[in-house]
C-alpha cells in the first residue's frame, strides 16, 4: 500500500495491547448472602423476591417467595420479622419494610388466585405429618413439592394449629389463614381432622408410611402453684384463646388479671379488652426483661391495657388476688420483698408458657426428651430412624416462622432420607455486611408505615389492627431494598471502568470481565453499590 510521507506502518487498534498483563489483582463477581436472608428462620430469599417486586412483577416475587415459605399473607401479619432488624438499610435510614411487602404479596396472591406449583412427578413414597400447625403445614407443602404423598393427621377440628388457636383474629383474620392452608391442601395433601395420633409407631405401620414428621406443638398451658380458694376462677391462656374459636366464648368477668410476660400474655389481655373486660397484666420482672416483643406491648398499652411490673401472685380468692412486690437483685433476678397488696380480680389467666403432649411417642425406642421437648439432630430426625420432628415440640425458639423453617428443613432431609441419600445444605456464602456497600448510590427514601386501625375499633372489635400497603407504596417499599451482595444490574461496573473491560451481557444476564484489558484498578469494586464484586490476588 502506498503510504504518505514519513509513514511506515498501517494504522492499528489499541486492542492489540493487552493491558490485562499489568494486573496484580482481579475483580470477580460474586453473590454474597444478604443479612435479611441469613436472619430469616424460614430461610426465605428475601432479597431475591424483593428483586422481582421492585420491577412490579408481583407474581414472580410471590413464586420466588413461596419456594421457601408457602404462607406470605400469614407471615406478613404474624412474623416477628427479625430480618428487618438485620437489614443494612437500618444503618442508613430505616430498615426496608420487608414484612409489609410480604403482607402485600400474600394478599395480592389471594386476590389474584395464584396457585402453588404442583410437583413435576410423584415419588411413590408416603409421608405422615402429625399436626396441622405452621411446621406441619410447611412440611406437607415441601414434601408435596418433592413429589411425596402426604397424609396429615390433626387432633383439632380445623387446620392452622397455633396460628388459629394461639393467635387472635385481630392479628390474623381467619379467612386469610384458611385460604393459605387450603392452597397447600390443594396440592394434594390428604387431611384427617379430629384424628389424634396416640401411638406413632402403630399409626405409621397401619398406614404403611415411609417416614413421619411430627409437629404436634405445645398446647398444654403451664400451671403455677398458686393457692386458690374454691371459688377462684383460674384458666390457662391457651385454653382461653382456643375457646375464642368456638361457639361458647369464655366468661371472664370485668376485671381480668393475666399472669405472665410473654407474647401470649399480651394476646390474652388484648383479647379480653376486646370482649369488654378491663385486663391487667401482672409480671414479675420489668419491661426491659419482658420476653414479649416490645411492639406488641406498645400496641397493648395504646389500647389501654395496664401492666403491674415486679409483682408475683401469691394467692387467688373469689374476687381478689394477693400480690407480692418484687425487687431485682444485682443479677437482674426478681426477689420477694415481703410487701403484699390485694387487687380485685374476677378471673385469673395464666400465661406462663406451654408444655408439649408427648403421649404419641410413648414406647418409641431411641428417643431423647430433654426439658419436655424432643431432641432432634441437625437433620431434624429424632433418635428413631424415619421419625422427624419440628416446631414447638423440639428445642428452639417458639414462633410461627421458626416452625415453618423446621417444616422446610425436615422436608428436605426426609426427601434425602427416602432416597437413601443425605441432604447437604448449600455452603453458606459470605455475608454482605454494611461495609461492603457503597450507599452513596441509593436514593434517600423514608420507610412507608402500614396504617393502624383506629384505637376505638381496636378496643372493641376483633378487626385486624395492622392494615396493608397498597400497590404504589408496596412498590416504593420494595425499591428501598439495597440488594445487598447481589447484582441488580445498575450498570455501575460497566460504566466506571476506564478501560472498557466490563462486558454487559444484557438484561437479566449481568456482566462479565474482559481480563485481556482489565488493569485491576478496583474501581468497579469500590463503586458497586451492593458489594457484588470483590478483588482477588492474581496468581503470579
Amino acid at each position: 500500500m502506498e503510504k504518505p510521507f514519513a509513514i511506515t506502518l498501517d494504522p492499528g487498534s489499541s486492542l492489540a495491547n493487552h493491558t490485562g498483563s499489568w494486573r496484580t489483582s482481579r475483580p470477580v463477581y460474586l453473590d454474597r448472602l444478604p443479612p435479611c436472608n441469613k436472619q430469616c428462620p424460614a430461610g426465605e430469599d428475601i432479597q431475591g423476591w424483593l428483586f422481582h417486586a421492585e420491577s412490579g412483577d408481583y407474581e414472580s416475587a410471590w413464586r420466588h417467595l413461596t419456594k421457601d415459605n408457602p404462607f406470605p399473607a400469614i407471615m406478613g401479619r404474624v412474623c416477628y420479622h427479625t430480618c428487618e432488624g438485620a437489614c443494612n438499610r437500618g444503618q442508613l435510614d430505616a430498615p426496608v419494610g420487608i414484612n409489609s411487602v410480604e403482607h402485600f404479596l400474600g394478599d395480592e396472591a389471594l386476590k389474584q388466585g395464584w396457585k402453588l406449583t404442583p410437583p413435576a412427578s410423584e415419588s411413590g413414597k408416603h409421608v405422615l405429618v402429625v399436626g396441622a400447625g405452621p411446621s406441619g403445614m410447611s412440611a406437607a407443602y415441601h414434601l408435596r413439592r418433592f413429589g411425596h404423598s402426604v397424609t396429615l393427621y390433626e387432633a383439632g377440628p380445623l387446620l392452622g394449629g397455633m396460628m388459629r388457636f394461639g393467635i387472635p383474629k385481630y392479628r390474623l383474620p381467619r379467612d386469610i389463614l384458611e385460604a393459605e392452608m387450603q392452597r397447600v391442601v390443594d396440592l394434594g395433601v390428604t387431611v384427617k381432622l379430629n384424628s389424634k395420633v396416640d401411638n406413632i409407631l402403630k399409626t405409621m405401620e397401619e398406614g404403611k408410611f415411609d417416614a413421619a414428621f411430627l409437629a404436634v406443638g405445645a398446647h398444654i398451658g403451664k400451671r403455677a402453684m398458686i393457692p386458690a380458694g374454691d371459688a377462684a376462677k383460674i384458666i390457662d391462656a391457651i385454653s382461653l384463646l382456643r375457646s375464642m374459636e368456638g361457639e361458647d366464648k369464655p366468661l371472664l368477668g370485668r376485671r381480668v388479671v393475666v399472669y405472665g410476660g410473654g407474647n401470649t400474655a399480651i394476646d390474652v389481655a388484648r383479647t379480653a379488652k376486646r370482649m369488654g373486660a378491663e385486663p391487667l397484666i401482672v409480671y414479675r420482672r420489668t419491661r426491659d426483661k419482658m420476653p414479649a416483643h416490645d411492639f406488641e406491648l406498645e400496641e397493648a398499652l395504646q389500647e389501654g391495657i395496664m401492666v403491674k411490673w415486679l409483682s408475683t401472685i401469691k394467692q387467688a380468692h373469689e374476687s381478689s388476688l394477693t400480690i407480692e412486690k418484687m425487687a431485682l437483685d444485682s443479677k437482674g433476678f426478681p426477689q420477694p420483698t415481703g410487701e403484699f397488696e390485694t387487687i380485685e380480680a374476677d378471673s385469673l389467666v395464666l400465661a406462663l408458657g406451654q408444655d408439649v403432649d408427648l403421649g404419641l411417642l410413648e414406647g418409641v425406642p431411641g428417643l431423647k426428651v430433654t426439658d419436655g421437648v424432643v431432641e432432634v439432630g441437625p437433620n431434624m430426625m429424632t433418635g428413631y430412624a424415619g421419625i422427624f420432628a419440628g416446631g414447638d415440640m423440639v428445642p428452639a425458639e417458639r414462633n410461627v416462622t421458626v416452625g415453618i423453617g423446621h417444616g422446610k428443613q425436615a422436608a428436605r432431609h426426609i426427601d434425602g432420607w427416602l432416597r437413601g441419600e443425605q441432604y447437604l445444605p448449600p455452603v453458606q456464602r459470605e455475608v454482605a455486611t454494611f461495609d461492603k456497600l457503597n450507599t452513596w448510590y441509593y436514593a434517600d427514601a423514608p420507610k412507608t408505615v402500614r396504617p393502624m386501625l383506629d384505637i376505638i375499633r381496636r378496643q372493641s372489635t376483633f378487626d385486624e389492627v395492622q392494615g396493608a400497603l397498597d400497590e404504589s407504596n408496596a412498590l416504593f417499599e420494595a425499591r428501598r431494598c439495597l440488594s445487598c451482595g447481589n447484582c441488580f444490574e445498575c450498570d455501575n461496573c460497566y460504566g466506571v471502568c476506564p478501560d472498557n473491560a466490563v462486558i454487559k451481557l444484557g438484561p437479566g444476564n449481568r456482566f462479565q470481565f474482559n481480563y485481556d484489558y482489565c488493569k485491576g484498578c478496583g474501581m468497579c469494586v469500590a463503586e458497586c453499590p451492593c458489594g457484588a464484586i470483590k478483588m482477588e490476588a492474581e496468581e503470579i
Partner: protein, 337 residues
C-alpha cells in the same frame, strides 16, 4: 436544574444504569451500543480519571451528534496514552494537534466544514476539541480565548487533573493550593503549591460570555452527560471543564478515583455548575457535605498537611476556599438548611 429529577427508582439516577427506568431515560454509558470512543488497550494508568471522563464525554457527544463528530486533541496524557504510533484507541475521527493550538485547530475544522456545507459538499458534522488542564489553562490558553472571543462553533472539553502528569507531575495553573508536585515540593514555610495563584478557566470562559460554560466530574455521570448533550444542542463556543482525578499525580489509590471526584464536589472544593451567556444558571447541590479533610487525606500530594502536627491553618484556608465556592455558586440547597 442540571440534575434530572426522576421518580424514586431504588437508585434513582445515581447509578450509571437503572433497570427500572424507561429506555429513553437511561444514560448513554448504560447502553450496550455506546460508542466506546476510547477503546480498551489504551496505556493510561490503573484507575485513570481522564480516560474515564473522555469516554463519558465523547460517547455522549457522539450520541448527541448522531455519530457525526470530529475531535481535535491537544498534547497531554490523553493523547500520549491513546495513540502511540501506529495504534489508536479512538473509535471516532480524531486529529492530534500541538500542545497549544487545539482550539485553533478545532476552529479551522469548523470553518472548513462550514465552507463545505455552504458548497453543498457535505452534511453537518460537529467539532469537539479536548485537552488536559496544561494544554487548556496554560499552553493553549491564548488559542482558547480566541476561540471563545470569535464564538467559533466548537465544544471545548478540558479534563482537569491539576498538573502535567505524564511528564512527571509538574505544576500547572490548575494545580490547587498546597498540593505537592515535582515543581512545588512540600518544603519551606508554605509547602506545596502557593495560595493565590493559578486560574479557574470556567470563570474566565464565563467572562467571555460564550453561549455555554459548565463544570462536571467523573463522579456524576448523569450530570456530565446532561451537560455534554445540552452543549451539543447549541451552536457557537462552548466550554465544559471536567474534574478527573489522577491516581498517579494525586498519590491516591486507583480505586478511589470516583470517590475523590465525589468528595471534591461534596466538600465544595470543586464547584459543579452551568452558565449561559456568562450567567450562572444552575449548580449541582451538595448532597452529603463533608469537611475538606475527607478529600485531602486520601491524597499523598497533601500528606504534608497531616504530619505529626497537622497543618491546621493550611487546612482551614482550603476549607475557607471551599466555603467560598459554596457561597459563590450556591452549592447548598437552601431549603435543606
Amino acid at each position: 436544574m442540571s440534575f434530572q429529577p426522576v421518580h424514586f427508582y431504588q437508585t434513582g439516577t445515581f447509578t450509571v444504569g437503572n433497570r427500572l427506568l424507561a429506555q429513553e431515560e437511561r444514560s448513554v454509558q448504560a447502553n450496550m451500543e455506546r460508542t466506546n470512543s476510547l477503546n480498551s488497550g489504551h496505556r493510561a494508568c490503573q484507575g485513570c480519571g481522564e480516560a474515564l471522563g473522555a469516554r463519558y464525554a465523547i460517547d455522549a457527544a457522539m450520541k448527541a451528534a448522531s455519530g457525526r463528530l470530529i475531535a481535535a486533541n491537544a498534547t497531554g496524557c490523553l493523547e500520549v496514552f491513546s495513540t502511540p504510533y501506529p495504534e489508536t484507541s479512538w473509535q471516532i475521527p480524531w486529529i492530534h494537534s500541538l500542545f497549544g493550538n487545539t482550539a485553533a485547530v478545532a476552529t479551522g475544522i469548523a470553518a472548513a466544514i462550514k465552507v463545505k456545507r455552504h458548497k453543498g459538499q457535505m452534511g453537518d458534522v460537529r467539532v469537539v476539541a479536548q485537552g488536559g488542564d496544561g494544554g487548556t489553562t496554560d499552553i493553549g490558553f491564548g488559542c482558547l480565548s480566541g476561540m471563545f472571543e470569535r464564538n467559533d462553533d466548537v465544544l471545548y472539553i478540558c479534563y482537569d487533573n491539576g498538573g502535567y502528569m505524564n511528564t512527571g507531575v509538574q505544576r500547572s495553573s490548575a494545580t490547587p493550593p498546597a498540593a505537592r508536585t515535582a515543581t512545588t515540593m512540600p518544603v519551606g514555610p508554605e509547602p506545596g503549591n502557593a495560595f493565590g495563584q493559578g486560574k479557574f478557566v470556567p470563570a474566565i470562559a464565563m467572562a467571555h460570555e460564550i453561549p455555554y460554560v459548565a463544570t462536571a466530574t467523573v463522579a456524576d455521570l448523569r450530570d456530565l452527560e446532561y451537560k455534554v448533550t445540552k452543549a451539543m444542542g447549541m451552536r457557537g463556543a462552548r466550554y465544559i471543564h471536567i474534574l478527573v482525578p489522577c491516581p498517579l499525580g494525586w498519590g491516591a489509590a486507583s480505586e478511589d478515583t470516583i470517590k475523590l471526584a465525589r468528595l471534591a464536589k461534596e466538600t465544595g472544593i470543586f464547584p459543579v455548575f452551568e452558565a449561559e451567556g456568562g450567567e450562572l444558571t444552575s449548580s449541582l447541590k451538595i448532597r452529603r457535605q463533608q469537611p475538606v479533610e475527607e478529600y485531602l487525606k486520601l491524597q499523598k500530594r497533601y500528606a504534608h498537611l497531616f504530619g505529626k502536627t497537622p497543618a491546621v491553618a493550611t487546612i482551614a484556608r482550603l476549607q475557607a476556599a471551599a466555603d467560598k465556592n459554596i457561597r459563590k455558586y450556591g452549592l447548598l440547597d437552601q431549603e435543606a438548611n
